[in-house]
Structures are given as C-alpha cells and as structure tokens.
C-alpha cells in the first residue's frame, strides 16, 4: 500500500475508536459495500485498533497509530500500523466459545470476529512497525 486513499494518524486512546469506525464505514460505503457489511468491516478495524491500543501499547496513551484505507479494483484494504510491542501472531489463541464460557476466559473474541468478517487478516512487520492488514473482497 504505497499511497492509500485515506490515512488517519491518532494516538493510542480508546476514546478515538469511534473515529476508526466512522472512517472505515465511510470508505467502505464509498467502495460499494452495503450499510451492514460496511459496519461489520468497520467493527473488524475497530477490533484491530483496540488490540493495538490494549496490547501493542498496553497502557501508553500517546503511542502513534496509523490507519490506512484503500479501495483497489477488487478489494477494500485496511491497515493498522503501530510502533508498539512486537506481535507474534502465531501466539494468538483460537477461540472455543463453549470452553471459553465455561472457563470464564476473556479475550480471543476480537481476532475471531476479525477472521469472520474479513477475507484476509495478516500480521507483519514493516520498517519497525507492526502491521495488521485486513482485506475484504468487493462486490
């Protein structure tokens, strides 16, 4: 993603999650998604941003976060970049809802949702940043 359509920079504060949601909804609608899928994609982006704030930056309220949204011919591409703690996506647990409930566990739902909503969810490192890349095929 060299020059994405829209780029938003903001600090790692949960009060700005609504902003992520709003931006992604708007661009998803422009990309041709209907209202409901657009809102789902926005939720996936919000989950990714939440993880950046809560895990990569755990506790820090001024960590720089960048949201990039692009419309390519066949896909909506959303990237979240941060300079926080390095993520090992393989360490990320899978969810078993029934067990989850029984054992009163918390967490894991966000990634699960992202996986259900998006066609692609990929974590990588790029120039010292964590990159979470979400893709959704366009109609």
């Amino acid at each position: 993603m060299s020059a994405p359509l829209v780029r938003v920079s903001f600090p790692s504060q949960t009060r700005l999650l609504g902003l992520v949601r709003g931006v992604v909804t708007e661009v998803a609608l422009q990309a041709g998604l209907e209202r409901e899928p657009a809102e789902q994609v926005a939720l996936a982006a919000e989950e990714a941003a939440t993880n950046v704030i809560e895990h990569a930056y755990a506790g820090v309220s001024d960590g720089p976060v960048e949201l990039r949204v692009d419309i390519t011919p066949g896909e909506l591409v959303i990237e979240l970049l941060d300079q926080g703690r390095e993520v090992d996506p393989r360490a990320v647990p899978r969810v078993d809802l029934e067990r989850y409930q029984r054992e009163r566990r918390r967490g894991g739902l966000g990634l699960h949702l992202m996986g259900r909503i998006m066609d692609g969810v990929a974590f990588s490192r790029r120039e010292g940043c964590n990159v979470c890349r979400l893709t959704r095929r366009l109609p």
């Binding site: 949960t14 999650l17 609504g18 409901e36 939720l43 029934e98 409930q101 966000g110 699960h112 949702l113």
Partner: protein, 123 residues
C-alpha cells in the same frame, strides 16, 4: 456527549437493562459494572433490551460471556431482545445465538422467564 448509558428497571421478577449508545473497549467498564451489580444484588433474571444499542464490539461480548455462567449457576439467565441487524449479525457470527435466547420483543423476553420458572439454561 455520553457514549454509553445503562438504565435498569425491574418488572415483576425480571430486571430490564437498557444500554444506550455503543459498547466497545472504551465504554465496556460501565456495562460490565452494571452486570456485576445485578449479580451481587441477586437480580438474576435479566433481559438486555438492545433497542438503543447501536453496536457492540468484542469487549462487550466478552463482558456478557464473562457473567453468564455465574448468573446461570445461581438459577438465573440473561436473555436479549430487539437487536438491530448489525448487532444481530455480530451475535450470529460468533454463535452467540446458540448460547443465548434472543427475542424480537422485550415482552417476549420477559414472558419467557415466567414460562420456564426461573429460566436457567440455554435455549
């Protein structure tokens, strides 16, 4: 601006909970606190009326999951009503519609407790 308010109201043996706004990582503590308070007060027949819930992120779903077992162990249940299409879609995506009883109207959700005498267990 209030991003989330949570009102509760008792109707016969049932406690109605009205989240208004959205439940995400930013607002979940308020919601979680309300659920915890109800459990402490042993108001365990709970209907979550989602008519004014614009959306719920995983943090909110986690708060529901995190309290349900305790509610059910003590003979209560948490049931839902009036989910908007986006919220309903998220519930279904996670299989929450298999774990929780979801009703179209508040009235049906409230009545369901009378029908099952206490109402423990999933649908």
């Amino acid at each position: 601006m209030s991003e989330l308010t949570v009102e509760t109201r008792d109707l016969e043996q049932v406690t109605l909970v009205y989240p208004r706004g959205f439940i995400n990582a930013h607002t979940v503590r308020l919601f979680e606190g309300e659920l915890r308070r109800l459990v402490e007060q042993r108001r365990l027949r709970i209907v979550l009326n989602c008519a004014d819930l614009a959306y719920i992120a995983s943090a909110g779903l986690g708060a529901i999951l995190g309290s349900i077992e305790e509610i059910r162990e003590q003979g209560g249940d948490l049931r839902l009503s009036e989910l908007n299409p986006t919220v309903r879609g998220i519930f279904e995506m996670l299989g929450f519609d298999r774990l929780y009883r979801i009703y179209a109207s508040e009235w049906e959700a409230v009545s369901s407790f009378a029908a099952t005498e206490g109402g423990a267990g999933t649908a």
